[in-house]
Structures are given as C-alpha cells and as structure tokens.
C-alpha cells in the first residue's frame, strides 16, 4: 500500500470557509436548486425560490456553525449586483413611457393610497398587539427597498437592521401571496397588479411581477422607486403624529 495521507478535512474546511468562493458558490447553487424545485412545483407561489433558497442556506449556516458575516463575505458579490439591477429597471420604464404617462393620474392616486395603507396598517396592527415603539418604527418602512427603508428607520427611531429583516420578509411574502390576493379580488389588469406588487414588495415583488410579463414588471419597478421616495416623506410624518 502506498503511503497516501488522508487530507485533513478540518484544515480543508478552515481554508475553504475563509475564501469568498465557497459561499458564493453555495448562494448560486442553493438558488439553482430552489429554482428547479419551484419549476417542478409548476411555480406554485409557496415554492418561491427566494424563500426555499433562504431556508437551504440558513440551515447550511446553522449546521456548519458559520456566522452570517462569513457567509456575506462570499455572497456580497451577488448582493453587489442589486445596484446595477435597480438601475436596469429604467430600461423597461423608458420602453413603456407612453403608457406610464397616460396612466399618470391612477399611478399618483394609487401610490398615495397604497403607501399610506402599507405604513398605517403595519404599525396600527402591531401597536394593537402591544409591540413597543422601536418595533413600530422599524415596521413603518417595511414595503420599501432595503437601503431607503434602513435610512427611514434610523430617522424615525427604529433599528435599521431589524427593518432590513422586515423588508425581506415583506418582499418574500408579497411574492408568495400576490397571485392569490389578485385572484381573490379578480384583478386582471397587469399595470394595476404590477404596480401594487412593486409598491408592497419592492424588489422581491418586482422580480415576481416580471414573471407575469413586461407590463407588470415595468409598473412594479416604477412603484418600487416612487414608493421609496414617498415613504421617506410619509413615514416620519406618520410617526410624528402617532400617539
């Protein structure tokens, strides 16, 4: 028998877990797996790929006792692409500009109604159930894209990182329940449903809306941008007037 030394598994793990490669790979692999799973369930809303991949990765971190910061060192390369992807939403918007302009009034009215509903219902229900002020302030901007939401949260006395968590939960939930809700209220207008999905579920909702087509996705991206700006004005006002 030749004298082959077994590779030291622990040492290999120590090396791999310190490079961004491992968790970057894990992120892409978990998503690919979740996406195939979602496809095999005929894109059922409950088999949402972001939700499934999040669970896979969370379990993986738990089992390997990997701290989130170590994970993020690898995953940040994927995270970084959110910036250019947000800018990219301008392209479908420019393409559909004539339709957007024609619908300027419904867009404005629905934006005001939706933005206020998202803020007031969240803090109203949580307050009724006895949540403390910090949690209310962290909940208020939950429908807004993460960077704006965290900024708002810190201004109105919330915890920005807790807000980031609420934002993600709201986005995933929106992607899951948007279809059933629109079925319930018999909403077939893709401009209206897309706008509502982006206003409520920011980028994660917008990713879902693009599955319904170009129009739904475009109006979702538009709502994401508009609601981000409006909530940064409304949320501080609401929290100031809140008893």
């Amino acid at each position: 028998m030749p004298d082959v030394k077994m590779p030291d598994v622990t040492q290999l793990w120590v090396y791999l877990s310190a490079t961004p490669l491992l968790w970057l790979f894990a992120t892409l692999a978990a998503f690919a797996l979740a996406d195939r799973l979602s496809a095999s369930f005929k894109r059922h809303p409950a088999a949402n790929p972001v939700l499934v991949a999040t669970i896979i990765l969370a379990l993986l971190l738990e089992v390997t006792r990997t701290p989130y910061t170590t994970y993020f060192a690898g995953a940040q390369f994927v995270h970084f692409m959110l910036g250019p992807a947000t800018v990219a939403l301008a392209v479908p918007l420019a393409k559909e500009w004539r339709r957007v302009k024609r619908l300027a009034i419904p867009i404005t009215v629905a934006l005001l109604a939706g933005s206020l509903t998202a803020i007031l219902s969240a803090i109203g229900i949580a307050a009724l159930l006895g949540a403390p002020h910090t949690v209310l302030a962290s909940l208020a901007p939950k429908s807004v894209t993460t960077p704006i939401a965290m900024g708002i949260s810190s201004i109105i006395g919330g915890l920005p990182s807790l807000t980031a968590t609420f934002v993600v939960i709201t986005g995933i939930l929106t992607a899951i329940i948007a279809g059933p809700v629109f079925k319930l209220i018999r909403m077939k207008d893709h401009a209206a449903s897309g706008f509502a999905t982006g206003l409520t579920g920011h980028g994660i909702g917008t990713a879902r809306a693009f599955q319904d087509g170009h129009i739904a996705g475009t109006f979702s991206g538009l709502a994401l941008a508009l609601n981000g700006v409006l909530t940064s004005i409304l949320a501080p006002l609401v929290m100031k007037l809140w008893p």
Partner: protein, 118 residues
C-alpha cells in the same frame, strides 16, 4: 454586453455621487434609475444598447436578494419574542397594501376611462 453593463454602473455611480453630495436619503441606484430612464427617453439607441445588460440582470433579480434574505437568521431571537405582533402585522399589511393599491389603480383607470386599447 460588457459596455452596456458599464453604462448601468456609470449611472449608478452618478446616482451615488448625487445622493452623497446633496444628502438626499435616496439610494444612488434609485437616482441612477431615474436618470437612465430620462436618458433612454431622450436617446432611443441608448435604450436598445443598455437593454443587452438590463435584460439578463432583471431576469436574475430574485437571486440578487438572496444574500440579504439570509440575513434574517441574525434576527430569529427578536422575531420569536415579538413573533405574533410582527407576523400578523406584516401579513395583514401586505394583503391590504396589495389589494388597496391595485383596486384604487383600477378604480381610477375605470373612472377616467383610461382603459388599455392595446
């Protein structure tokens, strides 16, 4: 494709610079989105050109939220403590915001007779 991607990064960069210079509280990418939309409306070829990078990026949008979503694991203890209040608040608020926004949109479209004829 790569140069189209550079256009997106360029607009993001301009957005970041404006956001920091004027302390707007609006993230750079959102300002970049608005500026690029305006630029694409003025210049049709720019839109067709940028689309080559925009299309695949938008196609993978769900994946891009994954690193942030996994961050939820850090807050499981807080979520457990305030679980009911938070869970119910987010669930009901999400249903309400979706329904109210879509119905108001639809109502105004119908009321002003702006129906889509395409």
């Amino acid at each position: 494709m790569l140069s189209a991607f550079a256009v997106l990064l360029g607009f993001q960069l301009i957005g970041e610079v404006i956001a920091r210079a004027f302390h707007l509280g609006i993230p750079g990418p959102v300002i970049g989105l608005c500026l690029l939309a305006i630029a694409c409306m003025i210049n049709e070829p720019l839109r067709a050109f940028t689309e080559r990078a925009a299309r695949p990026l938008i196609g993978t949008l769900s994946l891009l939220f994954l690193p942030a979503a996994v961050g939820v694991v850090q807050f499981l203890p807080v979520l457990q403590k305030q679980g009911w209040a938070i869970g119910l608040s987010i669930l009901l608020s999400t249903v309400l915001a979706l329904a109210v926004t879509a119905l108001v949109f639809r109502f105004v479209v119908h009321h002003l007779k702006l129906e889509d004829r395409e």
